[in-house]
């Protein structure tokens, strides 16, 4: 079973972020970088499937030099090798651009199953997983909560509009992991020591046969107009009244006449 996990490095979710001065980007300050939490579910699931069925787990990321750290962390969790597509155009690409890059890289690799996170907590575009599947012409199951691989197929439980659905897909397939799929392990000390010796290959766009102008800012389908800080929360209001009944009556009045919600 050859499993590839698509992994993105994002700013620590604890980080304080703010729009940059020009409003076109987001500054994360000196924030530490982490593995996108949804991708951690994907890594964990891949490791579990490997434990059960054998094979290998490869971590694939498109990013900058720093992204190698995130790959190493996944290797420390137990993955076998890493591939980093590192090119200036990567960071300037939108979700679709990144999907093109990842799909092109996957075409140079052997895989039976691709796992991704449902969303990346920074851009939150929810599209890289399905777009990669589309570009590769393989099935995609989104938001998986349970995964079983059997006889060339994968059986998934996934969230559906008003409940859950069981879905079967033929391999090779791409699954995107939803929160609840599993509890990711922590890298152990031994894992960290071993991770150093595991192979991490760096590829350029040329290596995967992508021309720089087919991705990057000029090819982007999404254009960011401006990032804005969250509006300040206004002060709360105390409902007046001498007794509980009076307060309740005043609250009901306010909800009806002012807030107009009842």
């Amino acid at each position: 079973m050859e499993i590839v996990v698509l992994l993105k490095q994002v700013a620590d979710t604890e980080a304080r972020v703010a729009p940059t001065a020009d409003g076109l980007g987001v500054s994360t300050g000196d924030a530490k970088k982490i593995i996108n939490p949804y991708d951690e579910f994907a890594v964990e699931e891949a490791l579990r499937i490997k434990q059960q069925l054998g094979g290998s787990v490869t971590i694939l990321s498109a990013g900058d030099d720093k992204a190698a750290e995130a790959i190493r962390t996944a290797l420390a969790m137990g993955a076998d090798k890493g591939v980093l597509v590192n090119d200036p155009a990567v960071m300037a690409s939108d979700g679709l651009g990144r999907a093109k890059i990842l799909a092109a890289a996957l075409k140079t690799m052997a895989f039976d199953l691709v796992l991704a996170g449902l969303r990346a907590v920074d851009d939150d575009s929810h599209l890289v997983g399905p777009a990669v599947a589309e570009l590769l012409g393989i099935p995609h199951v989104g938001g998986v909560l349970e995964v079983t691989v059997e006889n060339g197929s994968v059986f998934c439980l996934r969230a559906a509009d008003s409940g859950q659905a069981r879905v079967k897909a033929m391999l090779p397939a791409l699954l995107s992991a939803q929160k609840g799929l599993n509890t990711p392990r922590y890298a152990s000390m031994i894992g960290i020591m071993q991770a150093k010796k595991k192979p991490l290959q760096t590829l350029s766009l040329a290596d995967i046969g992508i021309s720089p102008d087919s991705v990057g800012p000029n090819a982007a389908k999404t254009i960011t107009k401006a990032f804005m800080p969250l509006p300040q929360r206004a002060a709360g209001r105390m409902i007046e009244g001498g007794t509980a009944q009076e307060k309740a009556a005043n609250l009901a009045k306010a909800l009806k006449n002012e807030a107009k919600v009842i």
Binding site: E14, A15, R16, G29, D30, A31, K32, E69, R72, T73, A76, Y186, A187, S188, M189, I190, I192, M193, A195, K196
Partner: protein, 613 residues
């Protein structure tokens, strides 16, 4: 909040820029530990500490430990955290690979500990004590003892403790009465009572190996007659299987001010005459074994204390950045001026700056001591090793007492920064403050540390280690004098180092004169000014690293400080160092002047003079 427990940027600064821990990879011992590996370790330690251990801190405090049917039950939250900590193999991270460790440099384990202990000290005492006990087995155990205990302990499957204290043997361990009677088959029957035993029993592990200090029946009185024994909670058969209950009874748990998550036990050994142990090391050499482990144990408690300080500072800073109260002092006549966050108020800045100066300085101090341990472990140069060992001997009592006491003061200032809220249980400071206090008391009270410094360490080897310390400080002073903008600070530190040398001479001389008692009424004060001066040295050293980097980033243009990455950090670091030199060191000089007076009032006063009986 942006940062919990510790400022990661400063941790990285001290590790890689000041102490250059990555250089250790040039030695054979540490060849595997390059910068990337160290960074990953700290990332993972921080991750585990913040996500899994920190959430257990408050419940641990509120629930505490219970004694039920003779067994200690820890707060249930501790179980998952303990499992993850052991699975991650953190317990023996510094130990040699041959005994199941990872062989990490001590300085790296310190950075990891800062996060772990800062997340929950009471919890971390369980694996921490296990580590210490296992280390005793590793160093003094027979092959059989190692085979039976070591892997189980270093993996965290079994626990470990340290049974020294008795009702009449606290600071004076030599006074203990627990007795060991030889059984003729290599085992001893142990009888006695031990009190204040941390982690004396708990349900995180299936068995516990208690190292116990006891006197073999008929051995000489005092420290010369003390031996060390390994006493398992459940007897371990020769094939490693668990045998009978070993008559180690938990009599009760102490009710205490803090670290409620850690069981402090009164223990009866051999109440039914059925408690057995085996010698760890040679007969009557128990105290020697203890002394050899003492440096590491005291370093560990120093880090405990410090972890409370750094955690409290980070909380207080975060709170001060968010709490809106009062108008800017510049607008105090204007009733329409908006209220501002309290970190804008000069008096709050006073507290924040003082806390930062303490926390950053202590981090450098502790990591420096860690590097000394690493030199001893990894260097091929005997002279270098000997010098590092001498520095350790002098620094350890200072580190233990200074860092634990100053961290407690940091907790006090952090509470003050919170105002009334800090005093309530809704915010984390009151717990940190309560928990921190014990670090100044156990593992040799801070008073005992100061006596160790004055009585043993100052004059050790003809005073060479102390002079080496002064010599290291002077080197940094000389270097700083060549760095533009640090001249004033270099001069301030130079003066303090010079005066410290004089005070040390005076203390040493007085301690050997008929005024010995007077000298020892100042032993703590002496330790305190030693600590201040080490801190001043650390700040100067930090500034020596940061100032050229700051200048390179900004070219001296203050406007660039906010726009260049890292510039604000370096600028803050240099300013903190300057604050230490200008606002704290003059007080230190005053404290030195007070010592110099050598007032004998405290010795001369009659007991009745203190207050009527």
């Amino acid at each position: 909040m942006a940062q919990l427990i510790s400022d990661r940027r400063d941790v990285d600064f001290v590790l890689f820029e000041q102490m250059e821990a990555q250089e250790l990879a040039k030695t054979k011992q540490y060849a595997q530990f390059n910068k990337k590996t160290i960074e990953m370790i700290i990332n993972e330690a921080r991750n585990l500490a913040i996500k899994e251990i920190l959430p257990t801190n408050k419940p641990g405090d509120e629930k505490g430990c219970r004694l039920e049917n003779g067994k200690v039950i820890v707060p249930e939250e501790f179980h998952r955290a303990y499992k993850l900590y052991c699975e991650g193999e953190w317990l023996a991270m510094a130990e040699d690979v041959e005994v199941g460790g990872q062989g990490f440099p001590i300085i790296v384990t310190q950075a990891a500990s800062e996060y772990f202990v800062g997340a929950n000290c009471a919890f971390m005492m369980y694996p921490g004590l296990t580590h210490g006990a296992a280390h005793l087995v590793e160093v003094y155990g027979t092959e059989k003892q190692k085979e039976l205990y070591l892997e189980k302990m270093y993996s965290g499957k079994w626990g470990g403790t340290m049974l020294l204290t008795e009702p009449d043997a606290g600071s004076d361990v030599g006074n203990l009465t627990t007795t060991a009677y030889p059984n003729g088959d290599g085992t001893y029957t142990i009888k006695g009572q031990k009190i204040f035993i941390s982690a004396g029993d708990h349900d995180l592990v299936e068995n516990i190996v208690h190292p116990v200090l006891a006197r073999i029946d008929g051995a000489p009185a005092g420290t010369k007659g003390i031996s060390l024994f390994a006493v398992p909670k459940i007897w371990v058969n020769d094939d490693g299987s668990l045998g009978e209950d070993n008559d180690v009874v938990i009599d009760r748990l102490e009710e205490k001010m803090g670290i409620h998550g850690n069981a402090t036990c009164v223990m009866i050994l051999g109440g039914k005459g059925k408690c057995k142990g085996t010698l760890l090391g040679e007969p009557n050499k128990g105290m020697r074994a203890m002394f050899q482990m003492m440096n590491e144990a005291r370093l560990g408690v120093g880090i405990q204390g410090f972890s409370f300080g750094t955690a409290a500072y980070m909380y207080a800073l975060d709170y001060a950045r968010q709490r809106v109260q009062g108008r800017s002092l510049l607008e105090f006549m204007n009733p329409d001026a908006p209220a501002v966050t309290i970190n804008n108020h000069p008096d709050v800045r006073r507290m924040l700056t003082w806390m930062k100066a303490m926390v950053d300085g202590m981090r450098s101090f502790i990591y420096y001591t860690g590097i000394c341990f690493d030199i001893v472990r990894s260097s091929n140069d005997e002279a270098e090793k000997e010098k590092a060992q001498g520095l350790i001997e002098v620094l350890i009592p200072i580190l233990k007492a200074y860092c634990t006491d100053k961290s407690f003061e940091v907790c006090v200032q952090a509470m003050q920064t919170y105002g009334g809220y800090g005093y309530t249980k809704e915010y984390p400071i009151e717990q940190l403050l309560r928990d921190c206090k014990i670090t100044g008391i156990y593992e040799g009270t801070n008073g005992i540390q100061s006596m160790d410094l004055l009585g043993r360490k100052l004059g050790m080897k003809g005073g060479k280690p102390f002079m080496d310390l002064v010599g290291e400080m002077s080197k940094t002073v000389a270097q700083a004098k060549g760095i533009a903008g640090l001249e004033t600070l270099a001069g301030q530190v130079e003066e303090a180092v010079g005066k410290l040398g004089e005070i040390a001479m005076l203390m040493g001389k007085t301690a050997m004169s008929e005024k010995v008692l007077t000298a020892f009424t100042y032993s703590y004060n002496f330790l305190d000014v030693c600590g201040d001066t080490v801190m001043a040295w650390m700040h100067l050293w930090r500034a020596c690293v940061a100032k050229p980097k700051l200048d390179a980033l900004t070219g001296g243009d203050p406007a660039l400080i906010t726009s260049k990455k890292d510039a604000a950090f370096y600028d803050g670091l240099v300013k903190t160092a300057q604050y230490f030199g200008s606002a704290i060191l003059p007080v230190t000089l005053g404290k030195m002047a007070a010592i110099k007076n050598m007032s004998s009032a405290a010795v001369d006063m009659l007991d009745e003079g203190y207050a009527g009986k």
